[in-house]
């Protein structure tokens, strides 16, 4: 008699690896083995649907059959590990990049990276923005050591193709915008976040993107300001704070604080 664990591993082998033998041997006598197909079909269609919801632009770009075929392979290689499917599919962009049948669509992996960032932003937990009074209460030398914790909806993305235009065009059915896309316009730098009315994707220039990325990585403020070294950082930092892009901060160890004066000027 198989143990519960043996039975469940046999069913997993049937559903994921399509090896029906062990599970079929455990079925009651008058139960045909093709009943396992019902469960496998639910598994594959359910998880494919989860991917389709997270990657709607990829789905539209490659259409139903191609998407289902790619999803089939992806699910076999990276089956979900938890019942929270909104967090499933992080590896799909990487998978698409190495997916030979899609090689002609060189931008597909980058569009998928944007969609994953959007998906994360949609589902990120609700967090209160940082109370600015906590920053103001710090001594200037401590302000220099501030390392921000970004809101979980925020992603900073650099892509080789104008994926924001492609993504909007595809989901909006804007064929004119898609026809006007020039894949050779160079990299784009994007900020993805969930605002009051939904997920927003904005383009930043290279300097502003690097500044935001350094802040979101949790580098000490003084170090980020010194690296940035351009004049508009004050207003950019003020905008990040006002937009509630940080939810908390910690203080870097004292040795890291070398640029007290510049941070004082900003805060």
């Amino acid at each position: 008699m198989p143990t519960l664990l043996e039975l469940q591993r046999a069913m997993r082998a049937s559903l994921v690896d399509r090896n029906d033998g062990p599970a079929a041997a455990m079925l009651a006598q008058n139960v045909p083995a093709d009943r396992l197909n019902i469960y496998r079909n639910t598994f594959v269609t359910g998880v494919t649907k989860a991917l389709r919801l997270s990657y709607p632009a990829i789905h539209r770009l490659v259409a139903d059959d191609f998407f289902a075929g790619a999803a089939d392979l992806f699910i076999a290689q990276h089956p979900p590990c938890a019942a929270y499917l909104d967090e499933y599919g992080a590896d799909f962009p990487q998978f698409l990049r190495g997916f030979q049948p899609a090689a002609a669509l060189e931008y597909l992996g980058d569009v998928a990276r944007l969609e994953w960032a959007v998906n994360r932003a949609i589902h990120a937990l609700d967090m209160e923005p940082l109370d600015l009074a906590r920053l103001e209460a710090l001594l200037p030398e401590d302000q220099a050591r501030v390392c921000f914790v970004p809101h979980p909806s925020i992603a900073l993305l650099r892509a080789d193709y104008p994926v924001d235009v492609i993504w909007r065009g595809v989901l909006g059915g804007d064929d004119a915008a898609l026809a006007a896309v020039d894949l050779k316009t160079g990299p784009v730098r994007l900020l993805v976040e969930r605002g009051a009315t939904g997920v927003e994707v904005s383009r930043l220039d290279a300097a502003a993107w690097r500044f935001a990325a350094a802040l979101c990585e949790g580098k000490p403020l003084a170090e980020v300001l010194a690296e940035a070294g351009h004049t508009s950082v004050e207003s950019q930092l003020a905008e990040h704070l006002a937009a509630g892009r940080f939810i908390d901060f910690r203080l870097a160890p004292c040795g890291a604080a070398a640029f007290t004066a510049s941070s004082e000027a900003v805060l």
Binding site: T42, A50, A83, R194, S202
Partner: protein, 350 residues
């Protein structure tokens, strides 16, 4: 381009616009059809709907403190009905949602917060895998606790099934072997959940398409034993009983008669589909994609006669129809509940 219709995104303002499409997901199904749970509703990134209820605050529930689901008809709430529920405030006693659809932040939870002010909510989990030999996923249990902390549901329920093996989530409510070992595992996990949540939960009887050769316990006895050993309640899915009884040649009345009336905390009703088998005969598939059939309404009548009036939910998860269709089904259940109520009163008077 796929020939599917999405609502167009709003016009952009400045550099940032939310453009995740909204709309019912219509499954293109091939043989064999899928089953309804676990579902994943589409989340829309937001089109600037202000999430405010338009219904006046008539029901002022003491959230989570002694609030109960009334012994009336409720409906399963799906994302495509969030806005219309807020707009019209339908005349329905309560609503149930899939816990897994509210585990993130943002729009879904804000809708549920608003709807929650007017309707008692039941949280129905589809992914905890109470029957897993490898134990419960502690992170998932904690996600459920977090949702419950925010929603303060009047009821919480899960399934007599399993979904996780070897660390893989198999995205279905898979059948358990009806063995003492499985019964022990389920009871251990129900205890764990009830301790973690500090409340009683209900467990739902499954619909199944296969049985295992080493099963020794009739499913109805398994259900009753889980309730007796753990003190949990039973969510009696009448459609599931009908489907499984058909598929396995059981007697649905025997099943109902074996369930302890005092443990029944909720009833589920749904539609199912029928599939022809190659060798003749049919298999009933619990896809929650159509009206409740007459035979299931009749079995529901039997259930009410045995259990008395119990909170009853209309579930509809695939090809979700307009809200009015769900409300029509709920009205039908409500009428049967009302007559069960009268009979219960008459019996008491006599």
């Amino acid at each position: 381009m796929a020939a599917r219709s999405f609502s167009p995104p709003p016009c952009g303002e400045g550099s940032g616009v939310g453009v995740v499409p909204q709309g019912t997901v219509v499954e293109q199904l091939t043989d064999p059809p899928p089953r309804p749970s676990p579902s994943r509703d589409r989340v829309c990134a937001g089109f600037g709907h202000s999430i405010e209820r338009s219904k006046s605050a008539t029901a002022d529930f003491d959230r989570g403190k002694g609030e109960r689901i009334p012994a009336k008809a409720g409906i399963g709430l799906r994302f495509q009905h969030h806005q219309v529920v807020l707009d019209v405030g339908p005349d329905v006693a309560w609503m149930e949602v899939h816990t897994e659809n509210y585990m993130g932040g943002g729009t879904p939870l804000r809708y549920l917060d608003a709807i929650r002010r007017d309707y008692p909510i039941s949280l129905h989990g589809v992914g905890l895998s109470l029957g897993s030999a490898e134990g419960l996923d502690a992170a998932h249990l904690e996600r459920i606790r977090r949702v419950a902390g925010r929603v303060e549901p009047a009821l919480m329920s899960e399934h007599i099934a399993w979904s996780i093996a070897n660390g893989t989530y198999l995205a279905d409510l898979l059948p358990l072997p009806m063995t003492e070992e499985a019964l022990d595992a389920v009871c251990r996990h129900v205890d764990q959940v009830q301790n973690h949540m500090k409340r009683r939960i209900l467990v739902e009887n499954p619909s199944t398409y296969l049985r295992f050769r080493h099963s020794t316990i009739p499913e109805w006895e398994f259900m009753a034993a889980v309730a007796a050993r753990t003190g949990c309640g039973i969510l009696c899915d009448v459609n599931n009983i009908y489907v499984s009884a058909h598929n396995h040649g059981w007697d649905a009345s025997t099943y109902l008669a074996a369930l302890p009336p005092a443990a029944i905390g909720e009833i589920h009703l749904a539609g199912h589909s029928v599939r022809s088998l190659p060798g003749g005969g049919t298999l009933r598939i619990d896809d929650h994609g159509s009206h409740v059939i007459a035979e299931v309404w009749a079995l529901y009548g039997q259930a009410l006669a045995r259990f008395g009036p119990v909170p009853t939910l209309i579930e509809w998860d695939t090809d979700v129809p307009p809200l009015d269709v769900l409300l029509g089904e709920a009205d039908h259940a409500g009428a049967l509940l009302a007559s069960a109520e009268r009979e219960a009163r008459n019996a008491d008077a006599a």
